[in-house]
Amino acid sequence: MRLDPLFESHRAQVYAWAYRILQREHDAQDVTQDVYLRWWHSRSNGAALTSPAAWLRRVTVNRALDVLRERHRDPQDDFRLAPSGVGRCDGTAPTAGARAEERERRERVSRALGGISERQREVVVAKVFDGLTFAAIAAQMNLSVPTVKTHYLRGLAALRDALHAERVT
């Protein structure tokens, strides 16, 4: 059975968005599958068809953040953490404690991303994760370029404050 070709063309990107937030393959796969089902049910939805990339980015990031919140609520989940790929500059393997610390730091960054407004988050993800220009983001989101830049700066400032409160940066 073939996937919807339009979704198929964005599938790797959907997986990458989910993975960046969750940092685990199996969670990212679950989110990708879930987003596909949502896409299937919403494929006649105007917003999904007008700008599939923007729609998929928003739905994927929101779903991944939901999974992150569920993970955070489950204390047993720490025992199922996948090994991190964090290495040290001297080439030696990081200790288990260092890996756990790095994982926790990344989770805090992802959680902070969930704490800013959806519009700001969309712009920040499109800019930082996808490397799009402000003009491209504005076109995808049907906004003006100055508005996109404002969302970007405010989103980054809100993230900075959240991360600073958690002593991540």
């Binding site: 059975m1 996937l3 599938r11 790797a12 997986y15 990458a16 993975y19 960046r20 937030i21 940092q23 393959e25 990212a28 796969q29 990708t32 599958q33 596909y36 790929g85 730091r105 990344r106 960054v109 992802s110 991303l113 920040v124 800019k127 930082v128 994760f129 220009t133 402000f134 830049k149 404002t150 970007y152 700066l153 980054l156 400032a157 993230l159 900075r160 991360l163 600073h164 991540v168 940066t169």
Partner: protein
């Protein structure tokens, strides 16, 4: 460049979209303005923190997972169609003929309750065909003869 002008360029500065000559002016301002430098550095650190959320090195099993799921969905759809067909066949089964004398034997009731209509049993056994073979038996005979004819021809 003053602080207001720097703010106008800050998004482009952080987003790596500044022309080189403007970037140079921004860098000059940041070198002499501690407040703007602090703001720019803290936001740059935030972008770095976001970039530390590494992208996947590969996308293993995504296609497999989705396709496995699609196969499962296909099997479920097949099972649903099969069940619907059986259900439809039951609903559209021939109406029960009025029992002789207005009653019904216990055996016929048991057959009916089990989804087998008493009328079908009579049809299959030929009991319902007065004075000769049932239509089913007659059709079977015609079919068998046609096979024989086909073989001969």
């Amino acid at each position: 460049m003053n602080c207001d002008e720097l703010n106008d360029h800050l998004a482009d500065y952080l987003g790596d979209e500044l022309p080189e000559e403007v970037r140079h002016s921004v860098d000059e301002h940041l070198a002499r303005c501690a407040a703007c430098r602090g703001e720019a550095m803290s936001l740059t650190a935030t972008v770095s923190a976001l970039r530390s959320l590494e992208p996947p090195a590969r996308a293993p099993g995504v296609a497999g997972g989705l396709r496995a799921s699609s196969r499962a969905a296909g099997l479920l759809a097949y099972a649903a169609v099969l069940l619907a067909g059986v259900g439809l066949g039951y609903v559209l089964r021939p109406a029960a003929p009025a029992p002789p004398g207005g009653g019904s034997s216990g055996g016929a009731l048991a057959l009916h309750a089990g989804g087998v209509h008493p009328g079908w049993v009579r049809e299959w056994s030929g009991a319902a065909a007065p004075g000769g073979a049932s239509p089913l038996v007659r059709n079977l005979a015609i079919f068998t003869r046609s096979l024989g004819t086909g073989a001969d021809g």
